[in-house]
């Protein structure tokens, strides 16, 4: 819980992004960064790492979490604003020793059984929990992305949170307030994950990543990280991306690997691709409350599947038809061209 450990990730060195020696380049320029999920997790997630998984209810990188479980990573610090089902699964699989989060619940659908066992009963072992509010987490990503020493916010005044999280500290503004008096404000430290995983609708092979619908804090989480992996529903040709450059939330220069993983955000949703599996959210409280049932669930659906494609196939076409969405196309804009 010490602040030192909250800021152990110093300024990330991004100079290794473009040297082309990290094994992710496969073709000529522009770089083809596509790899399998297995390769991405093997290359970028190591025991003891700080791993951010972002996606605010929409586009949750569940398939990445499952592959981390399959590869048996241990002692991870997981950074995620809304620690929900995928975090509960990673906890149950024994991957996580520390959690940095601002909401620990199963959306509005109930509880996270494993998280509550860890926090309430240290069962099977304690969980170090660094607790923030949503904007506190957002500001940590912003500070991390911008390599700032801290970031101020008008939260926490009078809250008990700073009493249990010494990383929440107060500073005096160097400028007078509106009334000419000195002003105190809370600050949060930066977070620089070893790797950030985000899920997106589509990217080109070099990692220009396009997201629509809820965009959350994904761009900041990617820029805060030393390495970034984008998991996408589909890879598209460069021309598709370039026909609508404002749709690109994360430019290729911030991306180390692109993983094509259709339906990889289940049970969350991908706007325009498939809907949220609300029934699974509702079922999770009962599954996770019973440790044996939870272990059996992981054995069947994560350890029992070789990869996410097998998980998708196991759910079956009829299931996916139930989450299918219709069309609501945006109208194209005219970017113009010089005549």
């Amino acid at each position: 819980m010490a602040v030192e450990s909250a800021v152990t990730n110093g300024p990330a060195d991004r100079t290794d992004r473009t040297d082309g020696t990290d094994g992710t380049r496969r073709g000529d320029s522009p770089a083809d960064k596509t790899v399998t999920m297995r390769e991405a997790v093997a290359a970028y997630v190591h025991d003891g790492d700080t791993v951010s998984l972002e996606g605010f209810t929409h586009l949750i990188p569940t398939a990445a979490g499952h592959e981390i479980i399959r590869q048996g990573r241990r002692d991870l610090t997981v950074v995620r604003m809304t620690a929900d089902i995928v975090v509960d699964q990673m906890l149950a699989a024994g991957c996580v020793s520390r959690l940095v989060s601002s909401f620990v619940g199963n959306s509005s659908a109930g509880s996270l059984g494993e998280l509550r066992r860890r926090v309430e009963h240290a069962d099977p072992e304690p969980l170090a929990f660094e607790e923030y509010s949503h904007y506190g987490m957002i500001c940590r990503y912003i500070a991390g992305a911008q390599r700032l020493p801290f970031y101020p916010l008008r939260s926490y005044g009078g809250s008990d949170l700073p009493g249990v999280n010494p990383a929440l500290r107060k500073v005096t503004s160097p400028y007078p307030g509106p009334d000419g008096e000195s002003e105190e404000i809370y600050v949060v430290p930066p977070v620089n994950p070893d790797v950030t995983f985000v899920h997106a609708q589509r990217a080109d092979r070099s990692g220009n990543t396009q997201v629509w619908g809820l965009t959350g804090v994904q761009a900041e989480a990617v820029y805060a990280a030393r390495k970034a992996v984008v998991v996408v529903e589909e890879v598209v040709e460069d021309e598709v991306v370039r026909s609508d450059p404002n749709r690109t939330l994360i430019p290729a220069h911030a991306v180390d690997a692109v993983v094509v993983c259709p339906r990889g955000a289940h049970p969350s949703f991908a706007q325009g691709y498939y809907d949220r599996d609300n029934a699974f959210y509702r079922s999770w409280s009962a599954i996770s409350k019973d440790k044996e049932r939870l272990t059996a669930w992981l054995a069947e659906w994560v350890h029992g599947t070789a990869d996410h494609a097998e998980y998708v196939a196991k759910l079956g076409e009829e299931f996916w038809e139930g989450l299918a969405v219709g069309e609501a196309m945006s109208r194209p804009v005219n970017y113009g061209r010089r005549l």
Partner: protein, 279 residues
């Protein structure tokens, strides 16, 4: 997510707080959700922007939009502004909120510029515990380090409390364990606690608490929550007995008009025809 689940540790509250069961205020054919959302909607008269989670706050805001606050804009914690959903959303991030919305903004803009920038008139919050100053606990029951029940935590509640001009709290449970003299943990402090910590708050904190017994109200800094209105058939003593602190009663205590036929019809036929939340 600004409306964390009710305190799971307090499942037998009815047996310890007779007032709660004695005073189901509305007529038997009006559900608790209908009563609470109809009353909350009226309180939104004159407000322009509301920051709301899914459930009762959405019902209240939708009803207000059709009645006392036609210009009301709901801003969701997921970043959706000006939603025009084709179906009643199941979560704050339901895909039906995004399709056809007027704007979808990133979280740094939502929390930094919209909420902290002072653009929200009313924030709706839920909590497991509330005290007389309107401070809220949505984190733990018991000690934070080894809680009897771990609750979801702040989410955006701390920011809503700090930055919305005022906060409305809808509590399904009105008993001494939820309305407590001393919170187990203060997740979201009102302005009085913020000032004591040297931080100047932007908003007034909690100004309305709506329950099945009545409405508690306070106007701002330095004021306790006082009993301001009662549902028909409920007495001030009922509410005082269900409240864990020495609740003050307003001199001009009023009686709340039960949900009207028109309000009920709008809730049942327009706002939530499939009765997703109107349980």
């Amino acid at each position: 997510m600004t409306t964390p689940a009710a305190n799971p540790a307090a499942t037998s509250a009815g047996s310890t707080a007779p007032a709660t069961s004695a005073a189901s205020a509305a007529s038997p054919d009006v559900t608790s959700s209908e009563l609470l959302s109809a009353v909350a909607a009226r309180e939104l008269a004159g407000r322009r922007t509301v920051f709301a989670g899914i459930g009762l706050p959405t019902l209240a805001a939708s009803l207000a939009h059709l009645t006392v606050a036609p210009g009301l804009e709901v801003v969701y914690e997921s970043g959706v502004c000006g939603a025009h959903p084709s179906h009643l959303p199941e979560t704050i991030a339901d895909a039906v909120l995004i399709t056809d919305a007027e704007a979808v903004i990133p979280m740094p803009t939502l929390f930094g510029s919209v909420l902290q920038g002072g653009h929200i008139d009313v924030g709706f919050l839920g909590a497991a515990q509330i005290d007389k100053w309107g401070n809220l606990n949505s984190s733990v029951i018991g000690d934070w380090h080894r809680p009897r029940a771990r609750l979801p935590g702040s989410g955006g509640a701390n920011e809503v409390m700090a930055n919305a001009a005022e906060v409305f709290v809808v509590m399904r449970r009105h008993d001494p364990r939820s309305f407590t003299e001393k919170l187990d943990f203060c997740t979201s402090p009102g302005p009085d606690r913020a000032l004591a910590d040297g931080i100047r708050p932007l908003g007034a904190g909690v100004t309305r608490v709506i329950t099945e017994l009545g409405i508690l109200a306070r106007e701002g800094v330095g004021e306790e929550l006082r009993l301001a209105a009662l549902h028909p058939g409920v007495t001030a003593e009922d509410v005082r007995a269900a409240t864990g602190w020495d609740l003050q009663v307003a001199g001009d205590l009023s009686v709340i008009e039960p949900p009207t036929e028109s309000e009920l019809a709008l809730l049942r036929e327009d706002v939530d025809p499939e009765r997703v939340y109107l349980r």
